[in-house]
Symmetry: C3
Amino acid sequence: MSIIYAIDIAGTFAFAISGALVAMKKDFDVFGVIIIAFVTAVGGGMIRDVLINAHPINWIGDINYIWTILTAVGVTFLFRSKIAPLRKTMFLFDTIGISVFTLLGLQKGLSYELHPFVALVMGMVSAVFGGVIRDVLTRKVPLIFKKEIYASACLAGGVIYLILGNFNLNEDLRFILSAAAIIIIRTVVVKYELELPKIKKDILGK
Amino acid sequence: MSIIYAIDIAGTFAFAISGALVAMKKDFDVFGVIIIAFVTAVGGGMIRDVLINAHPINWIGDINYIWTILTAVGVTFLFRSKIAPLRKTMFLFDTIGISVFTLLGLQKGLSYELHPFVALVMGMVSAVFGGVIRDVLTRKVPLIFKKEIYASACLAGGVIYLILGNFNLNEDLRFILSAAAIIIIRTVVVKYELELPKIKKDILGK
Amino acid sequence: MSIIYAIDIAGTFAFAISGALVAMKKDFDVFGVIIIAFVTAVGGGMIRDVLINAHPINWIGDINYIWTILTAVGVTFLFRSKIAPLRKTMFLFDTIGISVFTLLGLQKGLSYELHPFVALVMGMVSAVFGGVIRDVLTRKVPLIFKKEIYASACLAGGVIYLILGNFNLNEDLRFILSAAAIIIIRTVVVKYELELPKIKKDILGK
């Protein structure tokens, strides 16, 4: 479990940096940057825990999330000119983060004896809604609704995790295989610029 | 109770379609459309249940909501060019939906022994806040705050439901009379384009 | 305790007026004005109570909040042309309100045996997030993220409250000293137009 916890913290760190960078570009002050980093990093898990009544919720039950986020904001302030261009590294961290957030959320849902499909939704909520809150607070249309295949990768990985539950696999192996699937799918999709289908406006008549 | 459950599901279906249509007009991808349909349909009840600590919350406790929403999104994708123009039919479904959502929310609040006025607020939250979340996520000023008499119809129906509690009525009849009141008020208001009074900007001095 | 309760209600009243004024300027109807006044006044405490699982949450457990808000909206409608220019009076009420909200939130967090740092966050959530929800629903970038030192004053007052806990002070005195600190800091900051540092966009390379 401790390697998964380490990846969880690393994912939190990566999400906090991505939130801090968005807030800095929007000209927010120090406090605003911390808030945006915070909701980006723990917002998804917080919504999940409130919805499934898992108290204490993520960042209240484990103070390490707060320290991780404050450290990430500090690092972003100090090294912003160096971090911003590191798109590939950031993308890697971010992708590892969402894979772990998805599977941890799914596991938590299952441990609360939710219907597997609801648990799957909880996994996606964990991975995705931090970014949605970030975009609402910074007044962007949540990117994820428009062209990110992000959530679909999480969904696919979650389904794989559920399917693998039918085989006689070691739990760690099951987790790692599913996480790998998310990371590979997202990387391939972004590399080849794949998009989910959209319904054209003109079909809607107006 | 089963006829009320059927109407609840029909209302969920109608709300999901209305959310899906908004998201498609905004050029969202499949995933975005599902999310918007989802929050529109169950967002109000979800907020209500979190606020009154009613776990498992609506769509976690009853998987049928999720199937209903996914079906509604599928139907909207397949028949979008035919559904979009059906304004009157959609309006009817939507109005039946809010009447049922209002009264179910109010009933649930009373069953949790809330103050009747707080239960009334919960009824309105159930009916209205799905649309508010939809509008926030799609970056519209929530329509309901500006010119929809929507919420006022819910409020009136809820008050009628509470008042009817003082008479010796059959519970089903009480529910149906109150729902009819909401449907009639909203239809009359929309037909004659009534609006709640507003305070003009110039009165405010700037 | 009753003087603190009185100030809590006065703060709720002031927050509700500030919310109602924003909604009126945005041309919302009566219902929209009430909703915005409501979330501004009790939104922060509501989020706090949901996150720490304190049920019944603030305005469900005490109906006086609702009456206070409705009264505030009524007063704002009747005397809007007189209230709007009273910027100094409003500022005073508002500042007293946030100082009390911060400290009550912090106290509540401590009484739920949260880590002091998490309790501090809860104090700030109580004071600040009503305004954040108001700004999201009225489609403004939350002001607090950009140039209000508002939250920093709350933070400083909360830290002072925690530090004073190490001394042998009467609880009322501890509360009053911390509240005074918040009021003084915010007043000085606004008077001299101090701002938290920002990271310039051009440093970010784009």
